[in-house]
Symmetry: C2
Subunit: 250 residues, 2 copies
Amino acid sequence: MTLKYYHAEPVANSLKSMVPLIEKGLAFESIYVDLHKFEQHSDWFVAINPEGQVPVLDHDGNIITHTTVINEYLEDVFPAVPLRPRNPIGAARMRYWNKFVDEHVMNHVSMHGWHRMVGIIARKIESGEFEKLMTRIPLPDQRKKWQTARSGFSEADLANATQKIVYAIDKVNAQLAKTAWLAGDDYTLADINFYSHCGMMVERMFPELEVAKRCPPLVAWRENMTARPAVARALAGEDRTAPGLRTWRG
Amino acid sequence: MTLKYYHAEPVANSLKSMVPLIEKGLAFESIYVDLHKFEQHSDWFVAINPEGQVPVLDHDGNIITHTTVINEYLEDVFPAVPLRPRNPIGAARMRYWNKFVDEHVMNHVSMHGWHRMVGIIARKIESGEFEKLMTRIPLPDQRKKWQTARSGFSEADLANATQKIVYAIDKVNAQLAKTAWLAGDDYTLADINFYSHCGMMVERMFPELEVAKRCPPLVAWRENMTARPAVARALAGEDRTAPGLRTWRG
């Protein structure tokens, strides 16, 4: 049995499937894809994932993409250390939160991260070079995101994203005031999802929201997450981002 | 064991969980929620689903919402007639497509439907009355969608939605040129998802795309879907939409 995990810095999607691999005690080959060299759009990588995006799980030659899909797959194949409740109601609660994070959190935090980091990188690229890079990006949406990062996200879009993040942290906080973990009594993939995309960096990225004052249950939960050995090990992974641009990880 | 399914017209999300219930041969109580009377925002319904949205599954008093979550739940609890492949690779393929439809298809077709149907309904409501209705909608995103439907979606947003739909039908068509069903050899929840949100009505809603000429594999697949007894039974369900406004169902 061979497991390979292609990933970038331990944050957002790259962190989200790294944590379950470690929590489950699985032996896997970790392959760092250097986004700063645009390796995700290189021929060797697009041959593995035609969408040109990290992370990717390769299990005995079977390629699985998209972290929510990868994480459910890991539950199906390696159920010994469960991160998805075994009772269907619990699994449904976990999926409800996964869906919320995937559709109503991820892209909004991502826009602020791109605005502050990728925008600076994109503007440093010379004109002809940038257009050449764009032709190598397989997904039209991703191409558009790079172009917007270069020209600058609009204030209205950034304000809308912030509003959605406020809504999300209040919603998550209300749940964590009632239960220890997002889906109830058990630590699940939903916690890993919200932590990776928002919880781990929300205070650093949005100090003006005063999260510590506004959301004590969320902050307590975040400390519990960060204290987990598997999370700590994942967070210690390689990061080739220039220190001044480490928007997400600080 | 008691199953209740709260739903509206047999299209989009309301159809999407109705088909699995029927495919699996489950006995369930069908409860029609009249969107034309805004029953989804009424006290009795919001007591069941605080988000004020259809459909809802009530299984022995446990409330499950969001169709992708409901459908995975039905697989977990009633696996006898499987609509999710039992091998993990197949399940991952199904989830890849479910995610694609949920995040890159549903909202775009929905915007065109709202533009052509809900917009007309929203503009017919008198001013004070409309604001009163808005205060009863629990989800801020949904409130915003009603307000935009009333004032009119922008041409740019509609054109962007059309572009995304073209991308989606070409992507789905390319898959259906290779395999009989979206996730491979088996009919799965992914087929039901794309059919309910786009496949069943794409030619009627977007005749200018010339889908029959552009996508013969998609059209052949659509005929196979429509010919399924469970799909036909679901489609025959109640519809209180004024005939002139039946954008989706024709």
